[in-house]
Amino acid sequence: MIPWKLAYFDHNATTPVAPDVLAAMLPALTEACGNPSSIHRDGQRARQMVETARRQVAARLGCSPKEIVFTSGGTEANNLALSLPARHVVTSAIEHPAVAQTLARRADVTVVAPDQNGLITPEALRAAMRPETDLVSIMHANNEFGTVQPVAALAAVAHEFGALFHSDGVQVPGRMAVDLGALGVDLYSVSGHKMQAPKGIGALFVRKGVDLAPLQFGGRHESGRRAGTENVPGIVALGAAAARPLHDVAALRDRLEAGILAAVPDAVVQGAGAPRLPNTTNIRFAGLEGEALVIALDLRGFSVSSGAACSSGAVEPSPALLAIGLTKTEAKSCIRFSLGESNTLDEVEALIGAVGSAVAHLRKLSPTYV
C-alpha cells in the first residue's frame, strides 16, 4: 500500500508547529479571552501576552520591540513594506512572488539579475541604482535554493543613494541567527510558519523613523500601522518560536546532498558556490520532470517540492531558477529538499535510497535521458 508518511523534507514550504510553541499558545486560545485593546484585566492579560511576544521577536532579530508590527504573515509583511511611496524601486530576479508580484504593479522598477549561484552582488545593485531610487527590496535568503545574500553590503549601497532597504527574511530566522542591527536594513519581513509557529502570523520590522502608512484601516492597532484586533494566539506562538534555540540541521543536509550525489549520476546542486541556508539543497536531476519525481517520492512516503509550492499548478518554471541561468527544461527538473528539526539521519538515509530508485525509474522511461 501507499505509505503514510515516512518523512517531511519540505520545511521551506512550511514547518510543523513545535510542541512547546503549541503549549505556549494554548492559554491564549483558552484562558486569555480578552481583547488586547480592552481596559479590563482580561484585556490587559492579552495585551501582556502580545507585548511579551513582541519582545521575544525583537530579541531574536536584534531590534527594538517598538519596531515590530505583527501581520497575518510574510506576504502581508512584504505588501506592507512595499507600499512605501517610491519614485524608483530596485529588486532582484529571485524574489518570492509576494515581493515580485507586489512590485510588478509599480511603474518604475529595476530588476537585478543574480550570478549563477543566485547571489546579488553589491556591484550589480550599484549599477541599477539611480538618484531617484527610493526603495530597494532584496531577499535575505532564497526559498528555492537557499542562497544567503550579502544583505549588509547591499543595504549600504542602498543607503549611499538615500534609498530605504527592505529584505524578505521569511526563510531565515528559523534557520540562522539574524542581527538586524548588523544587517542595517530598514524593513524586514518574518513569517511564523517557516519557524515552527502556525500559519497566519508574521511580522514586519520597521526601523524607527521610517514613516509607514497602514494598508488596512479600522483601528489604531500596531501603532497605527495595521488595523484589526491582534491575532493573540498567533502572536504568542511567534514569540515562543522566536525564543526557541536554533536547531542546526547542516550536517544532515550535507549528508543528504552527498548521499544523493553519490547515488545518482547527473545530479547538480544549485547555488552550491554561495553561502546557503543550512537546511536547504536544490538538486537538478537531468532528464526528468521534477513534477513526476515529487509525486513518485510522495508515493514512497517523502514530502519534497519542485519549484516553489505557491506556484504549483502553474505551467511556468520557477523564475528564480531561470534567473540563475537554467533553461526551462533544466528548471523543471529541479527538486528542493528542505530540512527541519524533526528530521533524523535514518530519514535522510531512507530518502537517499528513495531518490536513487525513483530517479533511476524515471530516467529509464525518459526519452530525453540517455
Binding site: 501507499i2 513526476a292 513518485a296 510522495d298 508515493l299 514512497r300 499548478g313 505551467v315 525509474h361 522511461l365
Partner: protein, 362 residues
C-alpha cells in the same frame, strides 16, 4: 515499487469519479490525477457568464480533489498545458484554417491522455491507468493482440474517440465503465455517496467555450499572431454561381446545413470550405455523396496490418450519431486508400469532410 498501483484520470465528472470509487471498492491501490490541459484565463474575450462545462476549470479540479478526499486516495494535478496546446489545440486551429474538419478529442487521446499521461503515471510508479471512457479492452489470445470493443452502453460508446490507441497503450489501460450502463454509473456514484453524483455531463470540445469554434479559432489565431481568417466571402455552388455571402469560412464545416442564410428550393449543405479563395461551396444533398475516400495514419487494433485488400464497414462518426457506416473495400497502399460504395439513395446526408476520422467498425 510494484504494488499494482493504478492512476485514475479524474476530470471531476461523474464518470471518472465513479471509476475511482469502483476501483477503491475493489481494494485496488489507486491514485487520482487531474490533467491541467488548458488555462481558462487565456483568450479572455471568450469568457461568458455561463461558460460551464469547460475543461480544466477551477470547479472541475475542485470536484476531483473533493472526490479524492472523499475516497481517501492520494490526488495530484499534473500540468500538460504545453503538450495539449502543441498536439491538440494548435493542430485543431491549423486544420480548421485549412478547410479541414479535425476531431481534437482523438488527438487528445492519442497524444495526451494515453501518451503523456500514461508516461507520467508510469513515472510515478503506476502500472496501469484507468479512465472513465465507455469502451472495453480485451486481450485476444489467438492473435496476441488487445482489442478495443464497444461499450455495453451503446448510447455512450466512446470507442470512436479511442481509435488511435496503440497496442502498448491498450495494454496499460483500464476502462471500468465499459461494462456498465450510464444509469448504472450514476447509481454507483449515488450509492457511494460521491459529491458529484448529480453533476451534469460535459458536452462539446472541452477547450472551446459554449461550442463556438469560430470564436475560439479567431481568438487563438489573433493571440498567436496567425493569419486571422478574412471576414466575409462568397458562397458558391459547384458550378461557380454566387448564391450568397458568408462571415468567414471558418464558421462552416462540411455537411453543415443550418446557418447558411441562403434561400434555395432544396436544402443546401456545405460541401467544401476553401481558405485560399475564402469561398464556401454549397450544394444539394446528392453532391455530398461520394464513393471514394482516401485515409491516412491507419491504426490497426484487433488485427495486424493486412497485406491484401479487405472488406470493411467504414464509419466516420461515433456509433449512434445517425450516420450509417458504409461497406467498403480497403486497398493497402501508401495512403491507405479506401474505396466506398455509394450508399443507397435516401434523405441522409453522407458527406466526407477532409480531415475527419474514419474507422472500421466491422
Amino acid at each position: 515499487m510494484s504494488n499494482g498501483l493504478i492512476a485514475v484520470a479524474m476530470s471531476g465528472g461523474v464518470d471518472s469519479s465513479a471509476v475511482a470509487a469502483l476501483l477503491k471498492r475493489e481494494g485496488q491501490n489507486i491514485v487520482g490525477m487531474t490533467m491541467q490541459l488548458w488555462n481558462q484565463r487565456r483568450l479572455p474575450e471568450l469568457a461568458t457568464e455561463t461558460s460551464s462545462g469547460r475543461c480544466c476549470s477551477i470547479d472541475d479540479v475542485y470536484d476531483a480533489r473533493y472526490v479524492s478526499q472523499f475516497l481517501g486516495i492520494p490526488y495530484y494535478v499534473v500540468n500538460f498545458e504545453d503538450q495539449f496546446e502543441q498536439h491538440v489545440v494548435r493542430p485543431f486551429v491549423d486544420d480548421y484554417l485549412q478547410g479541414r474538419t479535425p476531431i481534437p478529442c482523438t488527438l487528445c487521446n492519442n497524444f495526451i491522455k494515453f501518451e503523456t499521461f500514461l508516461e507520467m503515471a508510469a513515472g510515478i510508479g503506476a502500472e496501469k491507468i484507468a479512465t472513465g471512457h465507455y469502451a472495453r479492452v480485451s486481450f485476444d489470445e489467438a492473435s496476441g493482440r488487445y482489442q478495443l470493443r464497444r461499450a455495453v452502453d451503446s448510447t455512450k460508446d466512446q470507442t470512436y474517440f479511442l481509435l488511435g490507441l496503440t497496442q502498448a497503450q491498450l495494454a496499460k489501460t483500464l476502462f471500468p465503465l465499459g461494462e456498465m450502463l450510464k444509469t448504472e454509473t450514476r447509481e454507483l456514484a449515488r450509492e457511494a455517496g460521491l459529491p458529484v453524483a448529480e453533476k451534469q455531463d460535459s458536452q462539446e470540445i472541452c477547450f472551446v467555450p459554449n461550442g463556438d469554434y469560430a470564436a475560439f479559432i479567431a481568438a487563438y489565431a489573433k493571440e498567436q499572431g496567425m493569419a486571422v481568417p478574412a471576414g466575409g466571402g462568397e458562397i458558391v455552388t459547384q458550378s461557380g454561381e454566387v448564391v450568397g455571402r458568408h462571415a468567414g469560412f471558418h464558421n462552416y464545416t462540411v455537411g453543415q446545413r443550418r446557418g447558411l442564410g441562403v434561400a434555395a428550393p432544396e436544402p443546401l449543405y456545405v460541401i467544401a470550405t476553401e481558405p485560399a479563395s475564402n469561398r464556401v461551396t454549397v450544394g444539394g444533398p446528392d453532391e455530398l455523396l461520394t464513393t471514394r475516400m482516401a485515409v491516412r495514419d491507419m491504426n490497426w487494433i484487433s488485427i495486424a496490418e493486412p497485406a491484401e485488400p479487405i472488406r470493411a464497414q467504414v464509419g466516420r462518426r461515433p456509433v449512434g450519431s445517425g450516420v450509417r457506416p458504409a461497406a467498403a473495400r480497403r486497398y493497402p497502399g501508401p495512403r491507405g486508400r479506401c474505396l466506398r460504395r455509394r450508399p443507397g439513395a435516401g434523405r441522409r446526408v453522407d458527406c466526407v469532410a477532409s480531415g475527419e476520422t474514419a474507422w472500421n467498425i466491422g
